[in-house]
């Protein structure tokens, strides 16, 4: 075991530091890029005077217009208003994995939103506590941005936050974190925690929003629905594994999911003869859907003559009358079962242990996958022997 004292530790750090460097070519390339971009900016500034003149004339015209039509002034460049009830829905909302709860979105953002982007998140508030949720970036043309976090409620870590009660009676907490250069308000609604976050400007060194402005955004949150026409959930084509044409298929008619909650980088089907498991199961057709780091969603499809098998788990009745069984051994080890016409479906997730991943689909996500099962066209396909 090697021993270090404080000075040796610092010396060692300095040694490492000496090994971090750009080579001469890289240094030169970076400088060339910098100068090239500076020159481009200077060119843009060259036309500045002419633009300023045009801008001034346009500005005068706008001022005159605003003077003549004063009520027009009420509409600034913001998107939505606290009075409006239409949520500002991120552009990619139908493409991202959804958290396992319904949530609201703001109907007011204090600038014109040019770009919006939602992302499924597992928020880590403490080492022990992980909460599922979604983050949304609303970005203006000039890169001004607001971030929204919506997550499962858990331990409240904002002990020193300023408490603000809004006119509507909702309690907000306001907090500035100099370590992360962020300001935010948070509020609870049902089982969810909402945060509206502003970033310290690296140019002005100031936070962009007043507390009142952030609260105004918080007050504007309204329920919404994911647009149906883009909703992957409504798509009805089965997601076939890449080697679908190469593997033997079950004898029985069967289904595959038309929805998966995350992007799939690889998929693969395997077949297994379950003769030893007669009479429960005959054959098994398994499809593994992998994400980019090797976690997988597994759909086992087993031919059975035994009808619906009771695993002693929670029975879940769906609106269409189908009954699923949720079998849970622990939070990391759970699966959803469904049997229909001599075919048993089992869906579950498996993290890639080599990456220390904690990938784990929620019960709600498993249900959503099972709900999305659609028939696979078995015409002209070979069957298991």
């Amino acid at each position: 075991m090697k021993h270090y004292n404080d000075n040796e530790l610092i010396d060692q750090l300095k040694n490492i530091n000496e090994k971090i460097y750009l080579n001469d070519n890289e240094k030169r390339d970076v400088l060339l890029n910098i100068n090239e971009k500076i020159d481009t900016q200077k060119t843009r500034h060259g036309g500045f005077l002419a633009k300023t003149l045009t801008f001034a004339i346009t500005g005068l015209a706008i001022m005159l217009f605003m003077f003549l039509v004063p009520q027009f002034i009420q509409h600034d460049s913001s998107q939505g208003s606290p009075e409006e009830t239409k949520a500002i829905i991120p552009e990619n909302i139908a493409e991202v994995q959804q958290p396992p709860f319904d949530y609201m979105l703001p109907s007011y953002i204090p600038f014109s939103v040019e770009e919006s982007n939602a992302q499924y998140q597992v928020f880590i508030s403490t080492i022990e506590e992980r909460k599922r949720g979604i983050s949304i970036d609303y970005i203006a043309n000039d890169n001004e941005s607001i971030q929204i976090h919506i997550e499962e409620s858990g331990t409240d870590t904002l002990e020193n936050a300023e408490v603000i009660e809004s006119d509507s009676g909702r309690t907000y907490k306001y907090f500035e974190n100099p370590d992360t250069n962020r300001q935010f308000i948070s509020f609870q609604d049902g089982e969810q925690t909402y945060r509206v976050i502003g970033e310290l400007s690296s140019e002005t060194g100031e936070y962009p929003y007043t507390k009142d402005e952030l609260v105004k955004i918080g007050e504007s949150f309204v329920p919404f629905e994911i647009p149906e026409e883009n909703n992957q959930h409504s798509e009805k084509s089965a997601i076939l594994p890449e080697n679908f044409d190469e593997v033997q298929k079950p004898n029985a008619d069967y289904k595959l999911p038309s929805y998966l909650p995350n992007e799939i980088k690889k998929s693969e089907a395997t077949v297994e003869n379950l003769e030893d498991h007669k009479p429960l199961y005959l054959n098994q057709f398994t499809v593994n859907y992998y994400n980019d780091i090797g976690d997988k969603i597994v759909m086992d499809i087993r031919e059975t003559d035994a009808g619906t098998i009771d695993y002693g788990g929670e029975k879940i009745e769906r609106p269409n009358g189908n009954v699923y069984e949720y079998e849970k051994h622990d939070s990391q080890n759970h699966a959803l079962h469904f049997t229909e016409q001599n075919v048993a479906y089992i869906v579950y997730s498996v993290p890639n242990l080599e990456t220390d991943s904690d990938y784990n689909l929620s019960k709600e996500e498993l249900i959503r996958i099972m709900d999305s099962l659609v028939p696979v066209n078995t015409q002209n396909l070979s069957s298991l022997q």
């Binding site: 090697k2 270090y4 004292n5 404080d6 090994k19 890289e26 928020f123 880590i124 970033e199 690296s202």
Partner: protein, 173 residues
């Protein structure tokens, strides 16, 4: 914006590119990204040249580098950002060891430093490696001097604990 600003930026680049690259690299642990962020740092400095008060150029550039890097992490790695850590590279082909010729103990120390939260890493790099004064570190990080001292003490303790976890034994002076 004029040629004087461009000339000055080039001078500063010659003088500080290595220090700034090293600092950004410590924060982001990605060679290519650190290069891009180094470029962004000087472009931002050019843009803000007129407002710079010319008192502590190096500290000012480090402050810009830190903000540029935090902005990047916030946008690209929101989870890491929330955890107050910066993302350690996951993919094997761009592992830091590939770019750095570190011996075994240096490798351990480098990894241990990477496991610290950002504020700890910041203060160790700036105060102990880059040897800024406490006052300069406070200026770069936007903290008061007391916070710098306290955080540095905690950061070094955390680094030692991390090393012990990895099998090293530390002898306090």
């Amino acid at each position: 914006m004029n040629d004087e600003a461009k000339f000055q930026i080039n001078q500063w680049y010659e003088e500080y590119n290595n220090d700034l690259y090293q600092y950004i690299f410590y924060l982001i642990r990605d060679h290519d990204q650190a290069k891009d962020l180094l470029q962004d740092t000087f472009l931002k400095a050019y843009k803000k040249y007129d407002t710079f008060k010319q008192d502590n150029t190096k500290g000012w550039l480090f402050r810009i580098a830190r903000n540029v890097t935090i902005d990047f992490v916030r946008k690209k790695h929101p989870v890491s950002y929330l955890m107050d850590t910066l993302p350690a590279k996951q993919s094997h082909d761009s592992a830091p060891e590939k770019h750095l010729a570190l011996n075994e103990s240096e490798q351990e120390l480098y990894q241990a430093l990477g496991h610290l939260k950002r504020s700890y890493r910041d203060v160790i790099v700036l105060r102990k490696i880059k040897e800024f004064t406490v006052s300069e570190v406070a200026d770069i990080l936007g903290w008061n001097e007391q916070k710098v001292r306290v955080t540095l003490t905690r950061a070094l303790q955390a680094l030692k604990r991390q090393l012990e976890k990895e099998g090293y034994e530390h002898e306090a002076l």
